[in-house]
Symmetry: C2
Subunit: 179 residues, 2 copies
């Protein structure tokens, strides 16, 4: 299960609650691995049982108590082993490309609209990534080791979006006036 490892990765820098983790999976780390809070809470439970994490409970009045999770030594070892092990590239599941196989059999104007929509959201995502790069990752070669990896993940996100935008334009040009 790789979600566990993504959670442990998030706990490398700081201890967090389930709630904080869910937020983190909505932003930074979440650009590359998505998870809902329901999934996270379930997984945290399992990881406690396995001894990969420990929980410190903070009593709060007027709010549910917080459980702040931290990596244990066993968790660190498990995480290191995962990083060192080769994992398979994830399976591709992209509806949009499957839909393209229907061009010529179905009306394709809704498909053109969908490409336009995806293009617009790719533009937003790209703008966000570029902003982050600009703010935090000015000179890549001068970054400390702990930031270089994160920079490279960000760069992959940027390139991905740029590539997709280029493809969208080409697709729209070829499909234009086809329906």
């Amino acid at each position: 299960m790789a979600l566990s490892h993504a959670i442990m990765t998030a706990l490398l820098e700081e201890d967090l609650t389930g709630y904080d983790l869910a937020k983190k999976f909505d932003t930074s780390l979440g650009f590359f691995w998505q998870a809902s809070h329901q999934q996270i809470y379930q997984d945290l439970k399992k990881m406690l049982e396995k001894g990969w994490l420990q929980a410190n409970t903070v009593e709060q009045s007027a709010k549910p108590n917080k459980n702040i999770y931290a990596l244990t030594d066993a968790g660190r070892i498990e995480l290191d082993e995962w990083v060192a092990s080769a994992t398979k590239p994830s399976k591709v599941k992209e509806d949009l490309y499957v839909k393209l196989y229907n061009v010529g059999h179905s009306d394709c104007s809704p498909l053109i609209d969908e490409i336009k929509q995806r293009k617009a959201s790719a533009e937003n995502q790209l703008a966000l990534y570029r902003k982050i790069r600009h703010r935090h990752y000015g000179k890549p070669s001068a970054l400390p080791a702990t930031r270089k990896g994160i920079y490279l993940a960000l760069l992959a996100g940027i390139r991905q979006q740029e590539m997709f935008l280029g493809w969208c334009d080409e697709a729209l040009a070829l499909l234009d006036g086809l329906d």
Copy 2:
């Protein structure tokens, strides 16, 4: 469930058995949507119940009987509706980028090796895509409508691999001598 729709897409051009479908999901359509034979047989059963497909049984001696599946009118309608409906981009789940967040906390030489491996398989995949383009999709604008969509899917695959190869080189350059 989008697997059903991917299967119906595969049946647009020709009627196929479960076995044939499984093979198709290992190649062409399978570049963009992967599925195992177990999944496919389960799904075919459900689709029959829904009336999206019909099965013609071909008796064979010395081999199990074949069930050849064909789209019904109800299936065509369902497929068209799916193509016309906007679906969410699929969730990103990419271990490699999560692992990058561990650079500086873990030994990163296995990670460098993994990037090299992925680079090699991206090169193979790219070579395959280019071969297909060269053989079957010479002049995109001259293609019949039914081939244009498939060409665009192929093009997305090509760009994806090219982009990834560029990223690998940049990543390897930045990580070189870091461990």
